[in-house]
């Protein structure tokens, strides 16, 4: 018996899917912003406070060498045992922030390391304050240099958000399993969802590239 594709029953549920899509964007967007900030903060702290180098290093290694899914289980199922309760969505955002934070720390650290000492000396000799040197000579160029790596990590994070359906968050893949159970058209459902993820990933790549161009435009333009 040949299989006949039937997309109508799946597309009839587009409202459920769009709700899921919206939640995915919301969770991933929050996680990406918070995780990016956390990573930048930790990478900077690691540089200015040598005492923190070791604990931050442990955090980065632990997160990078364990699966996102297991981290999610520890946060969502494990933490309530320790008295910290939160909704599935909050657990999702927290896990994502902690996970992305570790990767971003490592990426931003590489950027900070790539700024040569002579640049800082040059900045100070131009009578810039230490803050100005940090902001314009160290952090700005460092972030500009690693923006492509950060962007791909952000996209990976968006895609990883699909495992939130494991803890019954109704984001895109959670919505997909609902639609699948209502329509019994599993393959069609996941084809539609795959196309949506693909579109989101492509859109995010384009947006991040444009954002990078705006944020890291040369501060002084030749006139």
């Amino acid at each position: 018996m040949a299989f006949e594709f039937q997309f109508q029953p799946v597309l009839a549920q587009s409202e459920v899917l769009l709700d899921g899509l919206y939640l995915t964007l919301e969770l991933a967007g929050t996680g990406i912003v918070l995780g990016g900030l956390l990573g930048t903060l930790l990478a900077v702290l690691r540089g200015v406070m040598p005492a923190l180098r070791w604990p931050i290093g442990v955090y980065v290694e632990v997160v990078r060498n364990t699966p996102f899914l297991v981290q999610l289980f520890i946060v969502y199922l494990g933490l309530p045992e320790a008295g910290v309760r939160m909704s599935a969505e909050q657990a999702a955002v927290l896990t994502m922030t902690l996970n992305l934070g570790a990767y971003a720390t490592e990426i931003v650290r590489a950027g900070l390391d790539s700024v040569h000492k002579s640049q800082i000396e040059a900045g100070l000799s131009l009578a810039l304050t230490r803050w100005q040197v940090f902001r314009h000579v160290v952090l700005g160029p460092a972030l500009a240099r690693v923006w492509p790596s950060l962007s791909s990590q952000f996209v990976l994070m968006l895609l990883s958000s699909s495992v939130f359906s494991f803890i019954s968050v109704q984001e895109l893949s959670g919505a997909a399993s609902n639609v699948e159970q209502d329509t019994f058209r599993s393959f069609e459902t996941y084809i539609v969802i795959t196309v949506l993820y693909l579109a989101m990933a492509m859109a995010l790549r384009v947006i991040l590239a444009l954002l990078g161009r705006v944020m890291f435009a040369a501060p002084v333009r030749a006139r």
Partner: protein, 218 residues
């Protein structure tokens, strides 16, 4: 009856790591072969082959592993193949690995200086001989550190196939948690086992990378 998280539960979790390792090896083997073909297609002289390979890489890198899993799970069963979950999981992880390894290895092949191609062409080597004797031996050297680094991603992503019932580490943790209701302890043990697998590989990747840069400078 609620069980304690004791020695037998601990052993169940630790021993289920063998399926995590088995899945990693399957994906590395099958995905490696497929990834190699994709890398060659990606640098082929035939444009349609290049587009096809680029499309495959874009697809695999643009969708969650979970979707690759569901698509191969349901797709293969619709194609009339009634596969056990372990096989479907192995296939989807192989697809995942092929997309990433193909792109990594494409970079390695292209990083071999083009003069090497010219020199070997001047020696009247065929295209196959150029790959076999000149380009690939050099590309493999460059490819080792990033490939080892990718294995860590692969080990971690095997956890996702727990959803279709393969009892690997993450699934074992879930089962034990359902019996003991001690999620913190159970999943920290699970995380620790993953860490014990992944960390040495991460360190090896870093060491290989450092060693290669030293070698190139000399």
């Amino acid at each position: 009856m609620i069980r304690e998280f004791g020695t037998s539960e601990l052993w169940f979790v630790v021993s289920s790591a063998r399926w995590t390792l088995a899945l990693t090896l399957i994906a590395l083997g099958l995905g490696g072969v497929l990834g190699f073909v994709i890398a060659l297609a990606r640098v082929s002289r035939l444009a349609p082959l290049r587009w096809l390979a680029a499309g495959w890489i874009g697809l695999v890198q643009g969708v969650p592993v979970l979707m690759l899993l569901f698509l191969s799970y349901y797709g293969l069963s619709l194609a009339g193949l009634d596969l056990p979950p372990l096989v479907a999981a192995g296939i989807s992880l192989s697809f995942y690995a092929s997309g990433f390894l193909g792109e990594i290895w494409r970079g390695c092949i292209q990083s071999v200086p083009w003069q090497q191609w010219e020199a070997s062409a001047a020696l009247a080597l065929s295209r196959a001989q150029q790959y076999r004797y000149v380009v690939l031996p050099q590309a493999v050297r460059i490819a080792v550190p990033p490939t080892v680094g990718f294995i860590v991603q692969l080990v971690k992503n095997t956890s996702i196939v727990s959803i279709i019932g393969v009892v690997e580490l993450a699934r074992a943790g879930h089962l034990v948690n359902n019996a003991t209701f001690q999620p913190m302890r159970v999943f920290c043990v699970v995380a620790l086992v993953y860490f014990c697998i992944c960390w040495p590989i991460s360190l090896a990747a870093r060491w290989l990378e450092r060693r290669m840069h030293v070698g190139r400078a000399g």
